[in-house]
């Protein structure tokens, strides 16, 4: 039984990690908590379902839906965040809340309020590993997430754009003085986060189905995972995501599935009280 819980924990954990990375990237670039992050996840799943139902082959549908979400992310930055760049962080957060409501509304208009299915990427016959059984989709979730995280690490370390994003997150003014276009960095950050969110949505849709409001809870869990790991840290986002997934699965298995979220949030609150900067966050001292 334990292997089953661990497996399901890592699977959801991988999804949470991708969503959490999206939060972390946007936060690092702009200090904004993007409450519309969950909606990118929703777009990933729903757009794939819609494209597939329209007759487009699954791989193309996946690529198109991620591209759509990326476009939405960039538009969000250009149309909503950019004009309000002088405003306080709280105001920007409310703007993203408005955006999340708008996107959910658009989803019900463009698509509908029904639950949709996305076929599994490579079949639905369960595979047995030891005493646990898993769906092939789970291997896709784990595999693709791992590749995505590795690609992201390479991107931040080896490419000029990636390093520019990190520079902006450390010191916006200095980055600008070095010739880095902060506007471009912000657009790329939002696009990237949207792509990650959509990827998560696409990967999980065959297992958990998808609908216009799946983004609310997934966004919330991704946010929690990002904070648990330490909001400024990408590694923290991944660690936080996996940790949250495992805590949830173990809580559901050993305590009660009704209270698995309670268990998870109690752990998160306790963790924050003892480690206010999250598991991996840095302690920022205020100079007076």
């Amino acid at each position: 039984m334990l292997e089953q819980y661990l497996l399901s924990g890592i699977t959801t954990g991988a999804i949470y990690a991708l969503v959490a990375l999206g939060f972390a990237i946007i936060y690092n670039a702009s200090h904004v908590i993007n409450f519309a992050q969950g909606e990118f996840v929703m777009i990933g799943g729903m757009a794939t379902a819609a494209f597939f139902e329209a007759g487009i082959p699954l791989p193309a549908a996946v690529v198109l839906s991620i591209a759509t979400a990326t476009l939405v992310g960039v538009l969000l930055e250009k149309l909503a965040v950019e004009p309000a760049r002088e405003a306080s962080v709280v105001t920007l957060i409310i703007i993203t809340i408005g955006a999340s409501i708008l996107l959910r509304g658009l989803a019900t208009l463009v698509w509908d309020k029904k639950i949709h299915r996305v076929p599994a990427f490579s079949g639905e016959a369960p595979i047995a590993i030891g005493s646990a059984t898993l769906l092939p989709q789970v291997l896709w979730v784990l595999g693709v997430s791992a590749v995505a995280v590795a690609l992201l690490a390479w991107f931040f370390r080896r490419t000029l754009t990636g390093k520019a994003i990190i520079a902006v997150s450390h010191n916006r003014l200095a980055a600008r003085l070095m010739g880095i276009s902060v506007r471009r960095v912000l657009a790329v950050s939002f696009g990237l986060s949207a792509a990650l969110g959509a990827l998560a949505g696409v990967l999980i849709a065959p297992i958990a189905f998808t609908s216009w409001d799946v983004g609310v809870m997934l966004g919330l869990k991704g946010f929690a995972a990002a904070i648990l790991g330490g909001l400024g840290s990408s590694t923290g986002a991944v660690v936080g995501g996996l940790a949250l997934g495992l805590i949830e699965a173990l809580g559901a298995g050993y305590i009660s599935s009704a209270y698995k979220d309670v268990f998870a949030f109690v752990i998160i609150i306790a963790a924050l009280v003892f480690l206010p900067n999250g598991l991996l966050g840095r302690r920022a001292a205020e100079r007076v």
């Binding site: 908590i33 409450f35 909503a80 004009p83 309000a84 002088e86 405003a87 306080s88 709280v90 105001t91 409310i94 703007i95 809340i97 408005g98 955006a99 999340s100 409501i101 708008l102 996107l103 959910r104 509304g105 658009l106 019900t108 208009l109 609310v216 919330l220 946010f223 929690a224 904070i227 648990l228 909001l231 009704a258 209270y259 979220d261 309670v262 949030f265 109690v266 998160i268 609150i269 924050l272 009280v273 206010p276 900067n277 999250g278 205020e286 007076v288």
Partner: protein, 318 residues
Amino acid sequence: MASSAGARPSGSSKPLLALAIVIAALPLALPNNYTYEVAILVGLNAIVCVGLNLLIGYAGQISLGHAGFFGLGAYGSAILAARYGWPAWVSLPVTLAAVALLAWAIGRPILRLKGHALAMATLGFGIIVSIVLATEDRLTGGPDGMAVPPLASFISGEKIWYWLVGAVLVGAVWLARNLIDSPRGRALRALHGSEVAAGALGIDAAAHKLSAFVISALFAAAAGALSAHYAGFITPAKASFLHSIELVTMVVFGGMASTFGAVVGAAVLTTLPQLLTVFKEYEMVLLGAVLMLTMIFMPRGLVPTLERALAATRAKRR
């Protein structure tokens, strides 16, 4: 910018009077029971927002879980009245006292957190409350909710509830303004301005944040209890994460560090969805769009932006 030292800041009793007049005169403009119902809903949300504004706008903290206190106030009074037959004049104060105690116990550890960690902790609290309320169905009736007995036999009907909620709202605003105008109000604003400097002046940050947290929790619980008795029914959705977000949005939209901003924010964002239902399936899109556009063009919130515009036109005329 110069003016005589010691001149009293714009009298805070005038806007309170204005609010009371608006509440007293509004029924003349309300054609039917439905509009009374919306007005009552506005009043209840406004009560929560006035308290929440003390925490967010003045003390500079954040809570993404205040619907949890609303729900606890609602269910507390509902359960004591429905399952144990307590009359309202007992169930209400007992519920409020219990919520105050809980807020104090929870506030002490989590208010040491700042920024996003605090947001997360309060968020977690709200979700825990809503899940417990939905799961303990023997006590709470589960996700489908439970029936709530009326507040008192003579308090029924939209009109009487309107006056009751209106009176409570005026009382809530009066209490909030008294606090803000007092040295304790300055202490809260000092904490928001510079926690370090406030400490150097002898202000115990932890104690003041905690008292703002408990007071705002009480306002939310009181509104929750009233809403339960008014509707005759309560569901766990009232304690949901989405409701918490709605409340924070109302406070920021109306204008933080402005008690009347909180009332206006509650008024606009409670009535707007009702008005938008005529657009049927476009309701959500329009609501989201209005929220985004308002915050982009009025980043300080509605009331402060209007106040500044008013002050600017007055200065031009001189």
